[in-house]
Amino acid sequence: MTAWIDIIMVTLMLANLLVLGSSRLSACTRIVAVQGVAAGVLPLLLGPQHRTMGAAVLVAITILLRGLVFPVLVFRALRVARVRREVEMYVSQPLSILLGIGLLACSCWVSSRLPLPSPAPSPLMLPVALCTALTGLLVIVSRVKAVSQVLGYLMLEIGIAVFGTAALPEQPLLVELGVLLDAFVAVFVMGIMIFHISREFDHIDTDDLDELADWTPDAEQPK
């Protein structure tokens, strides 16, 4: 079993790097979907005592949502908003890949400081989970388009889910449900918002969304 888990972990990690490296939104979306599915099957691999009916249903839902619903939603958003396909980023791809590696190192360090009460099924799980979450944040921070931020958010949730399954194999149900709720809601609402944004600004580059600020290079002298 551990072998399978490790494989999945490696997949997740690779997916992170791919997302950071890829230059097309659609590719990113697919990668994130794959990542989601991969993370979704984890509960079944935790051990025989976890292969219950509930777990199976849960996994099914997860895979359905992450593998099908979310990508569909995102693609629809892309289509409706007529987004250009390139990822636009503040940080160049090589640099962001390097950052991704750095994040992995960081999460390894943190997880070394956080000994799990009972050892995780695979030593890789904790670092990869944290790393995925951090990568998600990195994507949110370093990408321009609103859609990429949704994707980053999804990766963040996937990371959290993996962490949950790693750290608390007892109540995977709770964890997954929470995560799914969060992710679903987020994607749903953000999808709506993206439609509105595209309606208002007829594109979804968030760099036009900086009208509200307290800093202007030539602020007039107060008082």
């Binding site: 750290a167 953000m190 009208e211 509200l212």
Partner: protein
Amino acid sequence: MIAALLLVPTIAGISVLLVRRDLLRRVLLIAAAATQFALTVATWLKPVAAEGAGWLALDDLARLFLTITSSLFLAAAVYAVGYLKREGSRLPHNPYDATNINEPDAVFMACLLLFLATMTLMIVSRRFGLIWVAMEATTLTSAPLIYFHRSQRSLEATWKYLLICSVGIALALLGTLFLAVAATSASRHSLPLLVDTLVRPESALQPVWLKAAFIFLLVGYGTKMGLVPLHTWLPDAHSEAPSVVSGLLSGALLNCALLGIVRVHQVCAAHGLGRFSGDLLVLFGLLSMAVAGVFIAGQADFKRMLAYSSVEHMGILALGIGAGGAAVSGALFHALNHSMAKTLLFFAAGNIIAAYATKKTREVTGLIHAAPRTGVLWLVGCAAIVGMPPFSTFLSEFSILKALIEQGRVAASVVYLAALALVFVGMAIIMVRMALGAPPARLKHAPLADSWLVTLPPAILGIVLLVLGVYVPPAVQVFLSRAAHLLGGG
């Protein structure tokens, strides 16, 4: 009882969506708010049993915040009716760009009521998972409220609000999971994540995980609460939301987020990490106060100014609760005072926008002539929010300062005083300049801006502030110290 508290606004909210008639909707809104308020009062009269296997319960802290929330919501409901009337009557719809059409009233009211429901849930829930869910839900129900004026600015504000708060919430989820890990012993036996179980000192938690959990929850809920540097969504959302919503966000929502942090702080304190979590809170509190001061001075948009002042006051609360001891009861008292004062000010700000059709500080002068009642309210709120006697904010800020100095936190108290002074200078200059002087020539006295429906609720809040400033009933003092006792404060 608690179930009723939750159900009333939910049902009312859903039914508002179904109702066709406008008048009925308004009646429903106010009725629901009043019922909620009545129920809250009832919780004072007789003790309330825990429900849902201890998932829902009302301890003193919860009762305090519940009281704040539901009384503010009652005021907001009345104000909202007047507000919507005004919005509906005014052409063009939206004062500061005329291109948009507001959200339909039904949706707005429904979201208001559901927002109340989610906040109530957040307050009464004892289980960290549930707290987290409620917090998430408040984000969802409040987002449409912020997007009431369908303008680009409000859209941008909503988008930022959503994304930033969702990231925060995600971190909070991670923190909750950490907490669960901390509660799991080596024998894979894990405690239920109930506040009541976790605050028992004998329940063994793993300090490292608890620390990490606190950090994540602090950052996560702190995002919602508006602690610097996580506050970035707050000025945008507050300034773009319709004033009634801004009032609720500042007065009620931020407190709920604070409650979320306080719960974890409780747990930390129970397991000897009180110093750790307390110092973090003090740090964030001081930072928030100072930074807010910087942004308030010379602020060009008066709703943003109010928003930053909320950041400052959240800083004060964090500081007081973190400092512990006598400061806690002061902080809780201040939570009450700040909520009232800030809601008052946001309501008044709504009237100002209605009268002047601008949010720019410089374009507003002679308020006291243009809209006399609002002008007086504005000045009263100004004095109250900067903590001047005879308003109760002075008493709470004074007792926090007293506790700080008596704990020998010299640096903290110096920063505290300096930040307060800076904020005073900034706000006094702006608000007094707005209130006094001669109104701009083009301005006619706008009756709707000063009608009773929109001036009475804030006026009542102001009166309460004044009364509490000169007479704090012993019962209230006793209650506050009892609530503070839950946080290990006197």
